[in-house]
């Protein structure tokens, strides 16, 4: 692959939308930009990426790859939306997290983009995800507690030596009381790559275990994720005048 990239998606706080971001970027890169994409659940303690894309209780997981029980290729699932996924395992086991980079690295021969979902805790799991990544995306939301966690995550990321591509400001309501992207970028000294609005449809999509970019393609959240996906690979996302709508990630129908 020409210039394949591994992005580590991190946040030092649960609930900011890290896993949602991984699932949607994966779907957007595959569907909208025809990229070969692999999403990896390296949130070893609380792996839920599979539940965002309809993969429940998989037989083969990253945990088994890390334990050398299976080859990395045996644990790759192909999703109907076009991306591939290495899921995590709900029952955690003790692992040598440092192996993550050596397990992921050969896959750059196959994929254009690899997205790693990481642990929301400051631990070896997060360090492993950062170490296995070429660039880091920090997911945040526009409130003080999350900003505090984001500043901490940025500090850790900088110390890891892996470049930070930028911050994704998620769950934005565009209210005055919220922090704006300028507040976050100035405090962290890191560019805000994308502002993703909050929408109940994200939860609705999650209940169907389908990324919102597929569940509701015309939604603002979906356009924001697609725009971000395009920027990660240096392609300008052109918002369609007339879109297509997929139902539950399957049937396609036109709408006006």
């Amino acid at each position: 692959m020409d210039n394949p990239k591994v992005f580590g998606i991190v946040a030092l706080k649960g609930g900011v939308g890290k896993t949602t971001t991984v699932a949607n970027l994966g779907a957007a890169l595959a569907q909208e930009f025809n990229k070969k994409v692999l999403i990896v659940d390296a949130n070893f303690s609380t792996p839920h990426l599979g539940l965002h894309v309809g993969l429940v209780n998989p037989n083969y997981t990253l945990h088994q790859i890390m334990s050398d029980k299976h080859s990395v290729y045996e644990s790759i699932y192909q999703h109907s939306l076009g991306f591939h996924i290495i899921p995590g395992q709900l029952a955690p086991v003790g692992l040598d997290y440092n192996k993550l980079k050596e397990k992921i690295e050969p896959l750059k021969e196959i994929y254009d983009v690899i997205l790693i979902d990481s642990s929301p805790s400051l631990n070896h799991e997060m360090a492993a995800a950062m170490g296995a990544s070429d660039e880091i995306l920090v997911v945040s939301s526009p409130d003080y507690p999350t900003l505090s966690s984001t500043l901490h995550a940025v500090k850790i990321a900088k110390e890891s030596g892996t470049p930070i591509r930028g911050i994704i400001l998620n769950k934005v309501h565009k209210k005055r009381f919220e922090l704006c992207s300028k507040d976050v970028s100035e405090a962290s000294n890191v560019k805000v790559l994308a502002v993703i609005p909050d929408d109940i449809k994200v939860l609705s999509a999650l209940s169907k275990m389908v990324p919102i970019v597929s569940f509701s393609p015309s939604n603002e959240v979906s356009h924001s994720y697609k725009k971000l996906a395009g920027s990660l690979i240096g392609v300008n996302y052109k918002r369609p005048i007339f879109g297509i709508k997929r139902k539950n990630g399957g049937e396609i129908e036109t709408y006006d």
Binding site: Y144, L147, S148, L151, D183
Partner: protein, 103 residues
């Protein structure tokens, strides 16, 4: 809030209190007999002043329920701290957060 000199609290020991901060400092050093003059079984001058002049009903209620200067200091200190926190603007909070992370 601004109050007039008639509304100041004139303590038995000669101290003149103009606001909660003054009362807080006063309570830290007040002698027992002055305190008992203002807070006893029949009255609680501090609670009445906070209620009637400073118009802080919630604090007044707390102060009226104690005859312990230490507790009064804690109650008043808490409300002053809360007020200071409310006053902080977005920029100040962000600066504090940045400083706390970067040491």
């Amino acid at each position: 809030m601004a109050i007039t000199s008639e509304q100041y609290f004139y303590a038995l020991n000669g101290a003149v209190l103009k606001n909660k901060n003054d009362l807080l400092e006063f309570l830290k050093t007040v002698d027992s007999s002055t305190f008992k003059h203002h807070v006893n079984l029949e009255k609680n001058d501090f609670a009445n002043w906070i209620d009637g002049v400073l118009k802080e009903k919630r604090l007044a209620k707390k102060i009226s329920q104690t005859n312990n200067p230490e507790e009064m200091i804690n109650y008043i200190g808490e409300t002053i701290k809360q007020k200071d926190q409310k006053k902080m603007d977005k920029k100040s909070v962000i600066t504090l957060l940045v400083n706390s992370i970067n040491g």
